[in-house]
């Protein structure tokens, strides 16, 4: 298994390098920081703009490969992601925002997966009962609602609740109350409350997707002979389902996890922007509008690493759960 995982990891490393180069080249050709500087008031001289662009390593007159070499050199040897278009450090901004995003991504995706697997398995066991039908309808509607719309609806709900109650019931902007007094407990509670709506908008999508797939894989397993055997040898229905049924039914889901993480990442970018979280997604949208190449590339790098990590995790999960994987 270790050898198999090592092989996957080296493949992912190659993918990462090629992908980051392509993203860099694409950002360089698509974004125009020169126009951004030339539009400044008072208008700087052409030489000044050139000097500024070169200093930030985003001068479009330098070949892309050369710029990439400078950038990669900084990244590999000094762990430096370059400067933003406002001549501040990308690293600093990156460090500030990464935890905001990871908090949302990790809790949202894990919660969505856990709820989806549990809900789907439950639904399969209770096939055609009221609980199964309710969950099916619920997940169908959710699957048909884009994440940004789910987030907007939750936010509108929170605004309506605020207007009805006269004060903020559930916070819907930012990830903490500024200048909050009180001890650690108060802060943790405040964080959790702020996490509620953004996490929910991500987790609901996960719940809908996973529960549909889990339901069908679980249904296939439920009719199997080995489950009947497990019960015949004396296991209770619940134990047999958990030990023999669920484990087998979860295996195909590990592949799903890698794919659906793409969607969750995009969803997180929307949720952050809508709920006013200063995370990577919000930064990305802002950076594109400001023609900030280095920031855009930094977010892409983050996305690629997070998604490959999810893929690797899915590989490991698959190898751990499925005894047939022996490479």
């Amino acid at each position: 298994m270790i050898r198999y995982l090592a092989k996957r990891l080296s493949y992912y490393a190659v993918l990462l390098v090629v992908a980051v180069f392509l993203a860099y080249a694409l950002s360089c050709t698509a974004l125009g920081p020169r126009a951004y500087f030339e539009a400044k008031q008072p208008r700087p001289s052409a030489a000044a703009v050139d000097r500024q662009l070169t200093a930030l390593n985003i001068n479009d007159r330098t070949p892309v490969v050369e710029r990439f070499a400078t950038w990669a050199d900084g990244l590999v040897f000094h762990a430096d992601l370059g400067r933003t278009i406002h001549n501040t450090s990308v690293n600093e901004e990156f460090g500030r925002r990464i935890w905001v995003s990871l908090r949302l991504l990790l809790i949202g995706s894990l919660l969505g997966m856990a709820l989806g697997v549990a809900g789907g398995a439950w639904s399969a066991v209770k096939q055609y009962r009221i609980s199964d039908r309710t969950l099916t309808v619920f997940s169908f509607v959710l699957l048909s609602t884009p994440v940004f719309l789910v987030a907007l609806l939750l936010k509108n709900g929170a605004i309506a609740a605020k207007n009805a109650a006269g004060h903020e019931v559930i916070p819907f902007t930012g990830y903490e109350t500024p200048n909050l007094a009180g001890g650690l407990g108060a802060h943790l509670g405040d964080w959790a409350l702020h996490l509620l709506l953004p996490t929910l908008s991500l987790a609901l999508g996960g719940l809908a997707t996973y529960s549909r797939y889990q339901r069908s894989t679980m249904l296939d397993v439920l009719g199997s002979d080995y489950l009947r055997t497990a019960e015949a040898k004396g296991l209770t229905r619940t134990r047999a389902l958990l030990k023999h049924g669920l484990r087998t039914a979860v295996i195909p889901m590990s592949t799903m996890f890698a794919y659906s993480f793409l969607g969750i990442f995009t969803g997180a970018a929307f949720t952050e922007t809508i709920f006013g979280w200063h995370g990577m997604g919000e930064w990305f949208i802002q950076a594109i509008n400001e023609q900030d190449i280095n920031a855009v590339v930094a977010v892409n790098l983050f996305a690629a690493v997070v998604i490959l990590a999810a893929g690797f995790l899915a590989d490991a999960l698959h190898a751990a759960l499925d005894p047939r994987v022996r490479y």
């Binding site: 048909s144 719309l149 907007l152 023609q291």
Partner: protein, 314 residues
């Protein structure tokens, strides 16, 4: 379909209809499934609304009416008016029209691309396979939203067709993988080998023998993709990376209405409801098609319970 192809020594023309037995079975299953009928009815109604709607109202989607600003829905303005007095009904049907067209075109484009890439990778194997699958992995590293957003400033002024191409270009990878693995097993089947030994050229085999045999999957997948594309379009347009003025789509309408939603709900919820309704209907059709076309399904879902003794709770 596979069984007839097996007994047929002459290659079946691609357009040949399925044998009546199977066709009848599929049709029977489709009409028996309520979801498909409901979904198809909703989709049909929405298409009628999108394309006939503009003729139902005297208002134009772009012309402002300064005497009626932010009016709630009334007999005159069915969906109310927005901040500069434009008729929201006219705008919504116009946006719906664009979103539907974009969804269909993206699904068509990406399904064609996915089936060609997947079938080539699976059929040719070797380096073609490796190169194409590397490309798939590479494109799956980034969420397509990021790449489309980066490219979108370049597209300013090119109109929405370029946007369709872009959406399709980043939407085929997972489907291609599935087509590839299906091709891998089809390649070993007798009718494909027979054709290749007879000297039929590879591309002809792919078009005439491989793709017709994965068509069930492709139809289902394309249906689901329509819904997905409409959602992607809405999301990208919402953040300003997709459809742009003077074009309107459901996404741009949602973006324009968001801020006003708590106070002037008609600016937001009509577009939102139509978006969800359409995607829901498409998903219902996709789900029903899966049950009807899937050769491994016995006879739709109810058969599954028949195989398994119904248990009471212990």
């Amino acid at each position: 379909m596979t069984t007839t192809v097996l007994t047929d020594t002459v290659p079946v023309p691609a357009g040949d209809p399925a044998p009546s037995g199977r066709l009848r079975l599929v049709l029977a299953r489709l009409t028996a499934a309520r979801g498909v009928l409901v979904g198809a009815a909703i989709v049909l109604l929405l298409f009628l609304l999108a394309f006939l709607g503009p003729y139902l109202t005297p208002w134009d989607y772009a012309t402002p009416n300064y005497t009626a600003i932010r009016q709630p829905p009334s007999a005159e303005h069915w969906f109310g008016t927005n901040g500069i007095g434009q008729d929201v009904f006219a705008q919504t049907v116009r946006g719906l029209q664009k979103s539907l067209v974009i969804g269909l075109l993206v699904a068509l484009f990406s399904t064609v691309l996915a089936s060609l890439v997947g079938a080539c990778a699976g059929y040719f194997g070797g380096w073609t396979d490796r190169a194409l699958m590397f490309l798939v992995d590479l494109m799956l590293i980034f969420p397509s939203f990021l790449i489309i957003a980066i490219v979108s400033p370049k597209l300013r002024g090119t109109g929405w067709l370029a946007f369709v191409l872009l959406l399709g270009l980043f939407n085929w990878m997972i489907t291609a993988r599935v087509v590839r693995s299906m091709t891998l097993s089809l390649k070993e089947r007798e009718f494909v080998r027979a054709a290749s030994f007879m000297g039929v050229r590879p591309f002809r085999i792919i078009l005439r023998h491989i793709l017709p045999n994965v068509s069930s999957f492709l139809i289902i997948d394309a249906t689901i993709t329509v819904g997905g594309a409409v959602m992607s379009e809405a999301a990208l347009s919402y953040f300003g990376f997709g459809v742009r003025a003077p074009d309107v789509s459901l996404g741009t309408l949602l973006a324009a209405g968001t801020g006003d939603a708590p106070v002037f709900p008609w600016l937001f919820y009509f577009a939102a409801a139509l978006l969800v309704l359409f995607v829901l209907a498409v998903n219902l059709i996709g789900d029903g098609l899966r049950d009807a076309l899937d050769p491994t399904a016995d006879a739709g879902r109810p058969a599954r319970t028949a195989r398994r003794p119904r248990r009471r709770n212990p």
